[in-house]
Structures are given as C-alpha cells and as structure tokens.
C-alpha cells in the first residue's frame, strides 16, 4: 500500500473538515443577513427623505414635516462634550492602572469594577445621571448633564481599550528608558504613548459609535422632546437624533413614513462617517509604528 494512499481516518477527517467549514460559513452568512436587510431598508425608505433641506431645517408642523437640524447639532454637541469628559479621564485612569499601580488585590478589584461598570444597563446610568448631574450638581437637564452621563457609561470602554493598547507596548521599551534614568512619566511620554496611540483611538472610536446612538441616558438628563432652537451653551437642553427618532416613531401621530427612516439613516451616517475618519487616522498612525 502506498504511503500516500488515504486511510479511512484521513477520509473521515476530510469529511469533518468540509462539514465544519460549511457550518461556520453558514453562520457567518446568517449573521450578515440582518445587517444587510437593515441597511438596505434604511437606504430604500429613508434615502428619498435626505436632502440639504432635511439636514438644515428644523422639524415643523408638529414634527410631521421639516428636517432634523436641531437634533443633528444637538447630537454632535452631546458627543463632543462626552468625549471631552471621558477621554482624558479614561486615558488617565488606564495609565495609572497599567503603568503605575502595583499588581495587588486592590488593583484587581478596581479592574473588575470597571468591567462590571460596562455591564450596567443604560437606564440605570440614566437614573444615576438624573440624581448626580441634574439634581445634585444642579446642572439641570442640559447638554452637560447628558454628556457626563454618557461619559460615565462609556468610560469602561475607553479604560479597557486604552489599558490593553498600553500593555501591548513591550516592557523592554520601558525598562530601556528606566535604566537610563527616565521616570515612569518620561518613559510613558517618550515611548509608550506614541506607540499605543492607535489602540487608544480604537477605544475612542467605539465610544463615539456608542454615544451617538444612546437614547435612554440622555432622555432624562438633557435631550428635549421638541426644541426647534440650537443650543447656545452646555447648560442648554437640546434635541438629539436618537431621541427624536424615538419620538417621531412612537409618540407623534401622523408622521409620514419617510421621516423616521431618514432620521435613522442620518444617525447611522454619522456613526459611519466618524468611524471611517478615525479608522483612517488610526491606519495612518499605525503605518508609522514599527518594531
């Protein structure tokens, strides 16, 4: 018998290989189906609603006509303020946990708490936001309160992803710096941060995507049902796309069908645009990193 002849075992393994390949491939296709259906439906039904007027006029006639301008601007405000609050805080906390904190039970407890924070339902964050920012700090229902609530909610994402990208930088780099008399901060600033910035950005990207779409945390803390003016400061209330979509889909009678689809498409469009921009920036930074 030739040594290259397939044995019974070989044949069985080959059949199994085929089976699993089919199984996994099939699952993947199943996964893609809902995404394709959602995007296609949105484009088909919401696409006709989109126009410059839609983006740049306020809703009118009991929100059954007009565009989304105040909600669009409000969402951008909320996202921007939430980012300003959570990125420095999250990166600083991650730097401490990854670069300074000793590895003991307290640190491990803190890490566990951070992971659990990510699992808290958004409505709980919303109620916390009402209690803490709206009432206790007396920010009122405002962009500031809404953004801080979102910031707290997304902090775990930022912390975890930042910590992981910091730890991806080899320890040897730090030791080389330390052995030259560098302080921890000097090593972080000169070597660790420049080489983990792309990973840190990934966390920010994830945060942005989450923040744009969140509804519950902002509906009690700063987003208005209907407010056809633009916010002038972070202490103003504002409309927001996500809440606006909820409102015109469920709370207001007589809204033509294309409006909510248009809003949903706009919302997704923002996420896609922001993500693509950050991914491109990240790819650019990554291209410069080599070791």
């Amino acid at each position: 018998m030739s040594m290259f002849q397939a044995t019974e075992l070989n044949e069985r393994n080959k059949r199994k290989e085929k089976l699993f390949r089919l199984l996994f491939g099939g699952m993947t296709i199943l996964l893609i189906v809902p995404v394709v259906v959602i995007v296609a439906t949105l484009i088909a039904r919401g696409g006709p609603a989109l126009s410059w007027d839609f983006f740049f006029t306020a809703p009118s006639n009991g929100m059954t006509e007009g565009g989304v301008f105040p909600a669009l601007v409000g969402t951008l405000w909320i996202v921007a303020v939430a980012l300003i609050a959570s990125v420095p805080l999250g990166v600083a906390a991650a730097l401490y946990l990854s670069e300074y904190a000793p590895d003991n039970w307290l640190t491990r407890l803190i890490n566990l708490a951070i992971i659990n924070l990510a699992g808290v339902p958004s409505i709980v964050h919303a109620l916390f936001g009402v209690g803490a920012f709206v009432l206790f700090f007396r920010f009122g229902t405002s962009i500031l309160a809404a953004s801080l609530t979102l910031a707290i909610m997304t902090l775990p994402v930022v912390i975890v992803s930042t910590r992981e990208s910091l730890q991806a930088v080899p320890r040897a780099f730090r030791e080389a710096c330390w052995s030259m008399g560098a302080t921890r901060w000097q090593a972080i600033w000169n070597v660790v941060l420049p080489n983990s910035i792309s990973g840190i950005l990934t966390g920010v990207i994830l945060e942005v995507s989450r923040t744009v779409g969140e509804t519950a945390p902002i509906m009690f803390t700063g987003a208005a049902f209907f407010l056809p003016f633009l916010p002038e400061s972070v202490f103003d209330q504002t409309m927001a796309l996500s809440l606006h979509l909820f409102v015109i889909s469920t709370q207001v009678p007589g809204v033509p069908e294309h409006l909510p689809y248009g809003v949903a498409l706009t919302l997704m469009g923002i996420v896609v645009v922001l993500n693509s921009a950050s991914i491109a920036f990240r790819a650019y930074l990554r291209g410069k990193k080599k070791w």
Binding site: E175, A176, C177, S179, M180, G181, A182, N195, K289, W291
Partner: protein, 269 residues
C-alpha cells in the same frame, strides 16, 4: 540637595591597583516575594575593570545587575537586602535614584531599539536630563555611535527607525544609547545572545576600548567570552556566589570550589 556626587576623583587604572573599588557589594541578598534569587554576595569591582559574571540560567546574574542600578523599584515583589556602595556611597542614600541610573549604562540580552529614530534613540538620555541644544546633541550622537562602531553604517539614515535595524546593529545602538549618558559603570546582560558571532567580536573589541574610560560588569553565559574579556570573574549558581577570582586562574583550575571547574569545563550548565 545636590545630586551630582563627586565624579570619582582617581581615574587610575586598576592595573596599578591604586584606586578604591567603584562598586562594593556587601552581603547582598535578593528575593522576589518568597523566592530567593541571590544570597549573601560580597564582591568588589575596582575601577576600569571588566568584571565577568558567569553561571547558568536562574543563577541570579540578572537580579544582581538590577540591584546595581536600583531597578528593583520597578519590579514588583523584588526586595534587596545588604549593602551596595557606588563610588563609596551607599546606593540607597541616593535620594534621586534617577541620578544614580544615569551614571550607569545598561545593555539588555535582547537588543532594544526603541521605536524612535536612530538619532532620537541615542539622544534620548541626554534629552531626559535636560539637554536641548541641537548642536550639543549632534556631537553626542555622533560620538556615541562612533564608539559603538555603528556610525559608518547609519550616518546617512539617522532619521530612520532604530527598531528597524538588524539585531546586531540594534545591539550596538543599545550600546551607543548606554554611552550617551557618559556612564561610569556599564552593565551588560548576556549581550551576545541574539547577535551573530562577527558582531559579538566587534562589540567585544568595543568593550576593551571602553574599559579605559569606565568600569564594566559583564554577565555572560559564554564562559569563553568571560575569559576573553574579564580580568576577574564571579561564578553564580542557583542564587549563590560560588567563587570570585582571577579569570585566568579560574580557567587554569586554580579554584576554591570544584563546581567552578565543572561549570567551566562544561560538565553542566
């Protein structure tokens, strides 16, 4: 508090035997939590000596080097007992450990080309200690790369990444970096582990030159490398300093402990 302790006054070669030891280690013990890595080591290293440390893995060689520039503060669970004097001064009395570390250059087993430009790799330590003038930095970068026998290979591409150099070049870059702070003591930890034989010989030649200007502690797992370079050698085994002696004498078999001969003859390790 002024942290520029007198550069050791005498630059007399140890051959003349006149200078006091640059490093005096007294009863040094190192443990990581409960695990003892090194116990009761007492050695002197005179100025301008290449002091070799040989021994198999896990014998405490690297821990010894770590203790010398107080890197223990960066290793959680690492405890150092006993005393180490650097230039006559207890290293624990340095309120500013960064000043101590900047007088000690370190070369690691695996070449560490930091992901910075070649220029920035060498200019990093001077910059950390506050040097900003481009002209001064240029001088240091050229001098250190020249002494590390790397200048001719990289002088036309100082802006390219140090981490993209070959292993042998990166190790010489590491040496150039260690020299950039004008150290009085150079610690080398198995520098030839990831380096080809030709580069190893080049680096050994560099070390022979550097010996005129500084003291060198050379940890190596190549006993013949210790023989080529070190005037005296210590043999570490499982956390114990078995023996310290004149290198040639050790190789001649003039030993106090027969385990040293066994190791040198390659019967174990």
């Amino acid at each position: 508090m002024v942290e520029t302790p007198s550069k050791t006054p005498s630059r007399v070669s140890s051959v003349e035997g006149a200078s006091s030891p640059l490093i005096e280690v007294r009863d040094l013990s190192i443990r990581y939590n409960e695990h003892v890595a090194l116990a009761n080591v007492t050695v002197d290293v005179p100025e301008h000596e290449i002091f070799g440390i040989i021994g198999p893995a896990n014998s405490g060689k690297t821990s010894f080097l770590r203790a010398l520039n107080r890197m223990d503060s960066f290793v959680s669970g690492m405890h150092v007992g006993g005393e180490i004097f650097f230039g006559g001064r207890d290293i624990r009395s340095f309120r500013n450990v960064y000043a101590l570390r900047s007088r000690v250059g370190v070369v690691f087993p695996l070449p560490v080309g930091l992901p910075l430009s070649i220029y920035d790799n060498v200019a990093l330590a001077p910059r950390l200690s506050g040097m900003r003038k481009r002209a001064d930095l240029d001088v240091i970068v050229e001098r250190c790369l020249t002494r590390a026998a790397l200048w001719d290979e990289v002088k036309d591409r100082l802006k390219s990444l140090g981490s993209l150099l070959s292993g042998g070049q990166q190790q010489r870059l590491t040496i150039a970096r260690a020299l950039s702070q004008e150290p009085e003591l150079l610690l080398l930890d198995e520098f030839s582990i990831a380096v080809d034989p030709v580069t190893t010989m080049r680096i050994e030649d560099i070390l022979k030159e550097l010996r005129k200007e500084m003291t060198i502690v050379l940890v190596t797992n190549l006993t013949q490398q210790a023989r080529r370079l070190a005037s005296r050698t210590a043999f570490f085994l499982s956390g114990e300093c078995v023996e310290v002696g004149d290198t040639e004498a050790l190789f001649r078999g003039d030993v106090l402990d027969e385990r040293t001969t066994h190791y040198l003859e390659g019967r174990f390790g």
